[in-house]
Amino acid sequence: FRFKDSLAEDLRRADLVISHAGAGSCLETLEKGKPLVVVINEKLMNNHQLELAKQLHRDGHVLCCNCSTLVETLQLMDLSALKPFPPGQPEKFALFLDKVVGFQ
């Protein structure tokens, strides 16, 4: 398919996700606890979107490859080595903002 309003249903049923390095795709997948292989498009190397994918890779949450190494990555991958991605904590932000504004 070309475009869907939400991939939530597909993500729920998936065992493995292979995605581009878009932040939304990466985060949505990791939050659902699915193993993720991120394919990096070298032609977009100056795109800041890579920053998140690289950091997630450094932290061990995703596998990374490019188009030419994708097959090899899929053949050799060890998904059990991937670390779970803990959710963000908006409650910390709420606490901070309450102090800033003076609600305590």
Partner: protein, 169 residues
Amino acid sequence: TGGHTTEILRLLSCLSESYSPIHYIFADSDKMSEAKIRAFEQKRAETFSNSKFTLDRIPRSREVRQSWTSSVVTTLYSMLYSLPLTYKLKPDLILCNGPGTCVPVCISALLLGLLGIKRAIIVYVESICRVETLSLSGKILYYFSDYFIVQWPDLKEKYPKSVYLGRIV
């Protein structure tokens, strides 16, 4: 737009009932944010019966990778809308997270503050996507916001006046 809206709604998710009314401002070219905001506010109304919100659109101030000079022109054009809107709303607090739309709104708020009409606290939260570099809005508002929040330690090092609370979305 898109990811920014999702992030900002997450930031709002734990705020208490005291943060009301919430005035959402977004770009006129944004087709999807209104639905997300309404869904969020509907849920919020289930917990906080008196929660109020409004929605306003202003012209999009910058397209992705638009040039510097034309961005100044389009931002000034957006300010023709953001200035009367900010004057009308007179916010106590402005929370923004990086789409081009936030720059004209914040500049308007700063102007209103300078003119002694209304002083708003400006809180900027850089997107979770920004690990090593700031967005253009971030680079500008780092100097003009009251609180500038980053979500990765590298940025805290590079921008020492920022606040680091870890990942908050």
